[in-house]
């Protein structure tokens, strides 16, 4: 039975989550790169949005959510065959068309997150080919494992809105891609700073607002789960932002805007898997944990391992998503204001389950991404020529310049 309240909310959430990519993430990433590459970043996000949308309809939705086996859905719902206009998505009060679109916006943003790893030096053709393959080989199966009734769902892995499905997968894949692609020319000493810190904040603000749809919309209903999900999402974002602000203020004497809003994203990613299960205090605690760990991760990945994951996708999304997923096992407990675990399941048991979920998501992402990157490298090449990288991708790849000064 279709519930109009639930449906209205998920319809709205769909718009909010699409807004996260178009233009939230695009602007967030855009401000972080040099001015001669901003259009290329916007282009990556826009083109991935379009390509994923069509592929989602053609087969990816089916591979994620249709009946199949424990590893992947079948092609029974390719082209949405057999899905009637007024079909209701099982165990919900919303039409399947709405579930399709809502999930599509998640499928769009996940490969778009990976953009941050390869900015300023990747070939556009490689972006398209890799993203499409990745959607089918990594995203759809893992979505199936956790949300489509697959093997991780059967084990009881708790991932409310995509800590594993979106953030761990994108983060891990970003790390692999950045490592294989290689560092930007001049990294780390001659890299230029973000060309528009203001744009980074505008994008982050859009992501924050949109995330209400991402997390609260994942309740697939307009009720107290959605209400609490929105609340804890907000608290985690705010807390993590303050954590980054305090760290920078203490370390450098000046708290930066880019730092504060990066903390925002860290907090949002960290709370994502837990958002429907925890209480307000849990939100604050995840903001603290995610804020600190993601800050450390940025340093470790770029300085210790010298991987040029240019916009810190692994550090912020990968580490954030994993942290939130693991801590869910404890924060779900009523002691922390959570909804509690199933009868007979202890926090320790759930922690192991969560760990299996994170490990599986990470493991498949890493292996499959490595293969897909190598395949893409062989078919179309990965990197632009050095002169093109120096001149900037906006003109060399897209024939446009962003600022006519």
């Amino acid at each position: 039975m279709i519930d109009s309240g639930d449906t209205a909310w998920v319809l709205t959430s769909t718009a909010l989550v699409l807004f996260m990519t178009m233009p939230g993430l695009a602007l967030f990433y855009g401000g972080l790169v040099r001015s001669r590459n901003i259009l290329s970043v916007l282009m990556h996000c826009a083109a991935i949005c379009c390509a994923v949308s069509v592929l989602w309809f053609v087969c990816a939705y089916s591979l994620a959510f249709a009946d199949g086996n424990g590893l992947v859905g079948g092609l029974g719902k390719a082209f949405l065959t057999g899905v009637e206009r007024d079909a209701v998505y099982p165990a919900t009060g919303i039409p399947e068309s709405v579930f399709f679109s809502f999930q599509m916006t998640f499928a769009i943003i996940t490969p778009a997150l990976i953009v941050g790893a390869y900015v300023e030096r990747i070939k556009f053709g490689a972006v398209l080919l890799f993203s499409c393959l990745w959607l089918l080989v990594v995203y759809a199966p893992i979505a199936h494992w956790i949300w489509g009734g697959g093997w991780l769902a059967e084990r009881g892995v708790m991932d409310f809105a995509g800590g594993i499905v979106v953030h761990v997968t994108a983060g891990a894949s970003a790390g692999v891609l950045a490592a294989v692609l290689g560092r930007r020319t001049g990294f780390p000493d001659q890299v230029e700073p973000p060309h528009a810190p203001w744009m980074v904040m505008v994008g982050a603000a859009m992501l924050w607002v949109g995330w209400f749809g991402f997390n609260a919309g994942s309740a697939l209903a307009a009720g107290s789960d959605a209400g609490m999900a929105m609340l804890v999402t907000h608290l985690s974002a705010a807390t993590a932002s303050l954590v980054w602000m305090v760290i920078e203020w203490t370390r450098f004497g000046k708290p930066s805007l880019v730092g504060l809003v990066t903390g925002t994203i860290a907090g949002l990613a960290t709370v994502t898997p837990a958002s429907g299960y925890i209480g307000p205090m849990g939100g604050v605690l995840l903001g603290l944990a995610g804020g600190v760990l993601c800050y450390l991760a940025v340093d470790v990945i770029k300085r210790t391992f010298r991987i040029d994951d240019s916009l810190d996708v692994l550090a912020v999304h990968g580490i954030g998503g994993a942290t939130g997923t693991l801590l869910t096992a404890f924060l779900v407990l009523p002691t922390f204001g959570g909804i509690g675990l199933a009868e007979g399941v202890g926090a320790g048991d759930q922690f192991v389950t969560q760990l299996i979920g994170v490990a599986a998501g990470l493991g498949w992402s890493v292996v499959a991404t490595f293969v897909l990157v190598k395949l893409t490298q062989g078919l179309v090449g990965l990197r632009v020529r050095e002169e093109e990288e120096i001149e900037g991708l906006d003109y060399t790849a897209h024939g446009e310049t962003a600022y006519k000064l």
Binding site: P188, E192, P193, K254, S256, V258, G259, Y295, V298, D299
Partner: protein, 112 residues
């Protein structure tokens, strides 16, 4: 006639313009430029990584004046643009061969 070129701190522009109006200098051209002198730029920190910003934004002002006004113009600009801190800028004086007003065709001092 001479062209007086001054590289100044952007936020001193209004002060300089007012001062020049006070000595009957009727027009100027302003360009946004980047540069460095002994000021050497500054450091910005993003996500824990330090970036050395070597070129700082400045304004270049150009006014063309009759020879008799040059010293006054230079003194006026210097006085209005000065803050006493590093980065105040520099003034250069060039010889100008001729000047023409496009609308009327006037030349020489009448064109200024």
């Amino acid at each position: 006639m001479k062209m007086v070129t001054a590289i100044i701190q952007p936020y001193r522009l209004d002060h300089v313009r007012e001062a020049l109006t006070g000595i009957e200098v009727q027009g100027m051209t302003v360009t946004e430029v980047r540069g460095y002198g002994r000021q050497k730029g500054h450091t910005e920190i993003y996500r824990g990584a330090e970036y050395q910003i070597n070129y700082l934004p400045k304004l270049k002002i150009e006014v063309v004046v009759d020879d008799r006004l040059v010293d006054n113009a230079v003194e006026t600009i210097a006085g209005a643009a000065k803050t006493g801190k590093i980065g105040d800028g520099k003034i250069f004086v060039w010889d100008v061969e001729t000047a023409i007003r496009i609308r009327t065709g006037e030349t020489g001092n009448e064109a200024l």
